[in-house]
Amino acid sequence: MSDIGASQFYSAFWDYYIAIITIVSVVGCAVFLWLQSRRTVKAQINARGEIQTTGHVWDGDLQEYHNPMPRWWIWLFYITVLFSIVYLILYPGLGTQWQGVLKWTQVGQYQGEVKAADAKFGPIFAAYAAQPIEQVAGDARAKQMGERIFLNNCAQCHGSDARGSRGFPNLADGDWLYGGAPATIVATLTEGRNGVMPPMGAAIGGRADVEDVANYVLSLSDSAHDSVKAVRGKAKFDTVCAACHGADAKGNPALGAPNLTDKVWLYGGSAATISETINGGRNNVMPSFKNILTGPEIHLVAAYVWSLSNSGKSSGATPAATPAK
């Protein structure tokens, strides 16, 4: 009994129902053909000895001439009957009770195709997986393969140019939350990341205090800020924020705490947005891909991502803006 046999919605009756209808149809066709090949019709012959009609009249005046098919034609029909018998012996066409001599299944065919594809592409992946990522990143074909994997799995969040958008890091700017070494990128892809900035509004104080800290943070990267507020905010930053972002505010890759002294902003670089981040915190997830991509695939996509900020030659990595015509 197959798996569906256990289902309460399934009865073995339908197996027999289908099998009997199929067999009766096939045998019926053969019998009908045999009868037709032996059947005769009465035809009218006129005074000149010519065959007129078969004598059938429909609709009052439609008559049938006698135009017999060539005899070999009926063998074509017998061949189709023979074909269906052979087919039903080889394939599971008679309900689930008969699996067919070939034991063919859809799942089996799919698995066979996957196996064939693995056998074909496996060696290509394996060859790159054995090379260090820096070397793979220099290989044009490997980069194409990596880009293809990236477009199918990563571009949904990071964009097809890997430059991200609000809440999704830019992977092409050389700035990394957790570090940009090849091994780190592989670790990020394999295990995923969960970046947490806790809500710090209460720890810092009131609304004005948060605004002071936000302006101090902006001053760290020489962004537009209110210098009076920034001076006031420094003390709070050193006691509260420096724990993660460091006394020099250069961040901590071990925690995923961002560098606040550059102009790279994940959620936006205005004072209001920074205040919002401090007050409400942020929680961001990079999912783990170990169950989605294979090791060699992760290796290739890591090489592609690494190449974006390290080769300088890859497409889309040239930041120079050119005026459009």
Binding site: Q36, T40, I45, A47, P68, T322, A324
Partner: protein, 491 residues
């Protein structure tokens, strides 16, 4: 069974006066629904030279076959001039490369083919069947081979009745060998349209051809051999849908191969002692040559029949006999149903050619043909699809401007590599932030990344229409513009 066959042949027995037939009583007989096929032995030569329409038929054979066998060998710019590369999904037609996106042109070509069939059938009856259809053309070639090996009708009939002898075996082997050679060459040529024929020729010559090429060569070879050697008129009578639906284009003014019953009847060999009118005879001398030459085995004197493929062999045969008998030609001729009943001369037939059916077919045919030529003439060998990033709507760039990302799927459908430039317009201050140019080899496709930037204050709320243009730097005529949208960030 035997009884049925015997009676089935009755229509080709004299329709005129025979005493025995007149005495027969109308009666009923038992017939089977399937009958054994009777071999047809069309007589091919009457007299020393080809008849008028036979010459036209042979001209059609030469014209179609020189094109068919010759075209794949033609070279164009270092490649096969006509190559339908199914695996790469590219059709090379002389200077053009057709991509799957150009399937609309194939549609137009098929419509033109259909309408041409309609038009010619409405005017001239089954001209296609009689002169140009591969089934007719290859049967003609195979019959020619048969005649040169086994002889014409009478000799072939005698040979088939003989018991098997060394001579018969040799003749049959030789004939089938020759047929198979032609058939295999045909199959090889056909496959040569889909896989480069010069390479294929080397493979075949060295017995290295295999896989699908070999399968299709054998398949089409077998189809040619079977259809032209064995099936012949049965394809037209039992299998071909065109044979049947062409009658839908017929009307009383359509040219058909007809027997002039009024002039011919009553038929009979007659005697040379007195004139035929004095013996009460029409012009038909009952030589039955029109039946002997018919490739579908019918008697045209029974009127228009669905088996008639309009090959006009019977016209040539009858004209020859009329010439010998000193009677005017045209007892069997191309005429129309109306011309026969109304007794038109040739002028009357011509006067009925331009009728609404013909004019409508011709007008549609002209329109579609003109549309195809215009479409091919203005076709730009460059295709661009703009695919906007779906996940990332918009982002703030490091300079504070808003950036949108697009991927262009660019196909250079020309055969030479070109450099292309990208432009963008539609918003004030819209700028290209990615590479402004890219190279693309001939007949390839590539995904090109495009980033557009605009200042936040220039972007109206919601989405804005922008246009991305791709233009060849070598040939300004090769340019395509595609519309897309640019999204701002909510402030």
């Amino acid at each position: 069974m035997d009884n049925a066959v015997e009676v089935k042949r009755a229509p080709s027995a004299p329709v005129g006066v025979t005493k025995a037939a007149l005495q027969a009583e109308p009666r009923e007989i038992e017939l089977q629904l399937y009958a054994k096929r009777e071999e047809i032995y069309p007589r091919q030569r009457i007299g020393d030279s080809l008849g008028f329409f036979q010459k036209w038929r042979w001209a059609a054979v030469w014209a179609t076959q020189i094109v068919f066998y010759g075209l794949p060998w033609l070279q164009w710019n270092g490649r096969q001039a006509l190559l339908f590369d199914l695996a790469a999904r590219k059709f090379y037609i002389f200077g053009m490369v057709m991509w799957p996106q150009d399937i609309i042109y194939l549609t137009a070509i098929l419509i033109i083919a259909a309408l041409t069939l309609f038009l010619f059938t409405a005017i001239g009856g089954r001209l296609w069947c009689g002169y140009a259809c591969p089934q007719t053309v290859y049967t003609e070639i195979f019959l020619w081979i048969e005649r040169h090996i086994e002889g014409d009708r009478a000799k072939r009939m005698r040979l088939d009745k003989e018991p098997l002898s060394a001579r018969k075996l040799a003749l049959k082997t030789f004939k089938h060998g020759a047929w198979i050679a032609v058939a295999l060459w045909t199959g090889f040529t056909f496959v040569g349209y889909f896989t480069p024929i010069r390479g294929l020729a080397v493979e075949v010559a060295t017995f290295a051809a295999g896989g699908w090429s070999l399968f299709w060569i054998l398949f089409y070879g077998f189809a040619t051999y079977g259809n032209a050697g064995w099936m012949r008129e049965q394809v037209c009578k039992y299998m071909c849908p065109y044979a049947r639906f062409q009658s839908a284009m017929f009307d009383p003014d359509t040219l058909i191969v007809t027997y002039d019953r009024e002039r011919g009847e009553p038929r009979g060999a007659g005697s040379k002692k007195t004139t035929r009118p004095e013996q009460g005879l029409g012009d038909c001398v009952e030589c039955k040559l029109c039946v002997q030459v018919c490739p579908t085995g019918i008697d045209i004197r029974n009127g228009l029949q669905y088996e008639c493929i309009g090959c006009a062999e019977c016209i040539d045969a009858c004209n020859y006999v009329m010439g010998k008998a000193g009677m005017p030609k045209g007892l069997i001729r191309y005429s129309t149903e109306r011309a026969l009943t109304e007794h038109y001369a040739a002028k009357g037939i011509w006067g009925h050619v331009l009728r609404p059916r013909v004019l409508v077919y011709a007008a549609i045919l002209l329109a579609v043909t003109a549309a195809l030529f215009v479409a091919v003439a203005v076709r730009v060998p460059l295709k661009v699809d703009v695919i906007r990033d779906r996940g990332a709507l918009a982002r703030e760039a490091e300079d504070g401007r808003i950036e949108n990302t697009y991927r262009l799927q660019v196909m250079n459908t020309a055969e030479r590599g070109q450099a292309f430039g990208i432009t963008a317009s539609g918003l004030p201050g819209l700028e290209l932030a990615s590479e402004p140019t890219f190279d693309l080899p001939g007949a390839t496709t590539r995904s090109v990344l495009v980033r557009l930037r605009a200042r936040p204050e220039d972007i109206p709320p919601g989405s804005s229409k922008v246009v991305i243009g791709v233009k060849s730097l070598d040939d300004p005529g090769v340019a395509v513009e595609e519309k897309t949208v640019f999204l701002g960030l909510k402030r």
